[in-house]
Symmetry: C2
Subunit: 216 residues, 2 copies
DNA sequence: GTCTATAGGTGGATAGAC
DNA sequence: GTCTATCCACCTATAGAC
């Protein structure tokens, strides 16, 4: 860790990386202390216990991601721009910090998102809700096909990118890049594809008689 | 565990559930023994060590999933039927055995799919490859839009369903069902939606001049 | 604020009786 | 095949010097 950062930040940085790489249970206080360049007992000076440290790591990371999503969405001047912006923000974060998708996946399966339920509720009432409304408006005005559920469509859009990065080793094998996963350039190209795929699904008109809109 | 199953199977069943719920590191040999109704030392009679037991759990589960995927794909008589069949097989497994998506997610992040690399390679050379070829044929014949990369489109199709189940607690909050995740009926409806979404994305013709096909 | 030392508890794995 | 008993290693968290 650089010497010009304070111990608290060094601990948070080291913990973020180690929790993502090894998981909460498999990461020890001593490992975090060593990686942060401080004595392991010092962690208990800054954080109540191991779980509280983990909680703070998540809040710091996902709080900034959400804020960026809000910003991009608010600045968008069209449906397509909004969708592309949201997909790009997610994709960029996960390409530039490859440990992030693993940290997210671990929180989902290890703790059922319990440490980020506040942020998720905020997302549900904020960007996600507005994205759904945006899709429904497009359907009502006839610009988007109306046989897809807006909420499900929003989930599908997000799902593509997050899954690609969580499953990166498996996707690497499928696409012929080996177990280290696809190189960065492919990951970036996939992000663009994901937006294309979602927009294609939404904007297409049904070929024949439109089906009734599904209720979730 | 029922008394009519042998100890080896009881151990595998208990281990599958516990590894999925708590993770590899957080699951103890003693917990598995207790859940299986046998003494924990007996695990070392049937399995070399904890990791080998974990490996065998994965092979048993994903081997059968892959075989079912092969079967459904081979029996399909149209592009749409093949895509719907693959999505349905995945969705059904994850709805009926909710611990499975978590086990898969854990293997991806904890071990980078190392214990299933053989199965993934088999998938890459089998169903996945044929799915990609099928999409490309549809693009060449003009039935599918040709501005999407076939491999990326295949990943997007799969990604929707798997992510929904891995992220079930988060999706539950987003869709207003709480942290326990969406009820079974919603999960089943989403599976149908995912196939609709993929087919809509693939079958739509570009509204204006088609873009050049992207290279991954 | 940062360290040393350690208490108190649990885990994977083995030896060996039956 | 299944069990009891146990070894040794390691972890979280605290006490207390500096």
């Amino acid at each position: 860790m650089p010497p010009d950062v304070d111990s608290r930040t060094a601990i948070l940085d080291a913990a973020e990386r180690l929790f993502a790489e090894r998981g909460y249970a498999a990461t020890t206080i001593k490992q975090i202390g060593t990686a942060a360049g401080v004595n392991s007992a010092l962690l208990y000076y800054y954080f109540a216990d191991k779980e509280r440290l983990y909680h703070d790591v998540l809040q710091r990371l996902l709080g900034t991601l959400m804020a960026e999503g809000e910003r991009v969405f608010a600045a968008a001047r069209s449906r397509e721009e909004a969708i592309r912006g949201l997909v790009r923000v997610q994709g960029e974060l996960m390409v530039s910090k490859p440990h992030v998708p693993r940290l997210i996946a671990r929180e989902l399966v290890d703790h059922k998102a319990a440490h980020v339920s506040g942020l998720m509720a905020q997302l549900a009432a904020g960007v996600f809700k507005r994205l759904c409304e945006m899709i429904r408006e497009g359907q009502d005005s006839g610009e988007l096909r109306d046989d897809l559920d807006p909420q499900f469509a929003a989930v599908s859009t997000i799902a593509q990118v997050v899954y690609f990065h969580i499953a990166r080793p498996a996707v690497g094998i499928l696409l012929g890049h080996g177990t280290d996963g696809p190189p960065e350039a492919v990951a970036r190209a996939y992000t663009v594809h994901a937006a294309d795929f979602a927009i294609a699904a939404l904007s297409a008109q049904p070929a024949r008689a439109p089906r009734k809109r599904r209720k979730p």
